[in-house]
Amino acid sequence: MYIVIIGGGSVGYYLCQALLKEGHEVLVLDKDSVKCERFGDDMGSVCIRGDGCEVSTLADAGVGRADVFIATTNEDEDNLVACQVAKHKFKVPRTIARVNNPKNEEIFKKLGIDCTIGVTNIILKHIEEELPAHPLTHLLTMAEEETEIVEVKLEKNSKAINKAIKDLKLPKDSVLALMIRNGQKPKVPTADTVLKLDDRLIALTRFEDEAELRKVLVG
């Protein structure tokens, strides 16, 4: 694949290195000639000096035949514009933007960027998953369906313990997909399954129902 990367900072640099290793054709654009030279020393002529938001620069870089376009600078507005120009002017099929301010992630999606990567949110999620203090952790978000997959651990103050699933007042569109019980193989719970202390449940829920689900399972 031909992949164009905007921004030769550390994200752009290591991304370029990894993609080259996988056998892709990669081109990096950066406004700063010093950054471009660093690429030259290590990877050959993969970095051109230029403004990745400028139509003429992108045309010179052959963005018209790019399969993927990735904007990795630390300015959100530059990443947005670079991706939009690539998408609307050069019809690049897949545009990916790094989002520095977590608030902008939703805006970028609404404005047509195919994929956004919010570093702050990713780190936050990892911290959440690592911290045992949270009885409910987010595993995966499916933004388009407004649905998420969460893991819930039944701790001793949970009101769901010793109850059958059919007796719980789960939100309408929430599903308990999987139950993991101490040392046993994961099971798909049925309506008659009785929950026990320390059970771990993988559940699907709509964003708006998360608080309700938490109330039923965590207490």
Partner: protein, 133 residues
């Protein structure tokens, strides 16, 4: 008319002062408080310190009730981002955005953002002056 102007540079400040004088309700935004010195001493609108690409700032500026939004900061990309937020997130009826780069302007015109490129306009004016008898 309620108008939000983003960027209190020479153009933003002058536009704010003219519209204010005509009796419109103006809110002008800038990330640098020092820029507000450019407003005319009689300016009776609101000068708000904040970033026009930030939704909270826009809400404080009254974006939900505004009739028009004008983006005239020094940065093309900031203008374009703020203009799209105003247009597509807050559905502001009239949004105008300054883009110096004529080629970038064409891209955004094509996707429905009303833009003015001072580069194109000024070059044209200069040509007319030069060729005028």
């Amino acid at each position: 008319m309620n108008v939000i102007i983003m960027g209190c540079g020479r153009v933003g400040a002058q536009l704010a002062s003219i519209l204010d004088n005509d009796g419109h309700k103006i809110t002008i935004l800038d990330i640098n408080g020092h820029s507000f010195r450019r407003l005319s001493p009689n300016f009776s609108g609101t000068a708000l310190l904040g970033d026009g690409t930030d939704q909270e700032t826009l809400k404080r500026a009254g974006i939900k009730e505004t009739d028009a939004f004008v983006a005239v900061t020094e940065g093309d990309n900031r203008n374009v981002m703020a203009a799209q937020i105003a247009r597509h997130i807050f559905n502001v009826p009239k949004v105008i955005c300054r883009i110096y780069d004529p080629l970038r302007k064409d891209v955004y015109e094509a996707i429905g953002i009303e833009t003015i490129s001072p580069t194109t306009v000024f070059a044209q004016l200069l040509k007319e002056k030069l060729l005028a008898k």
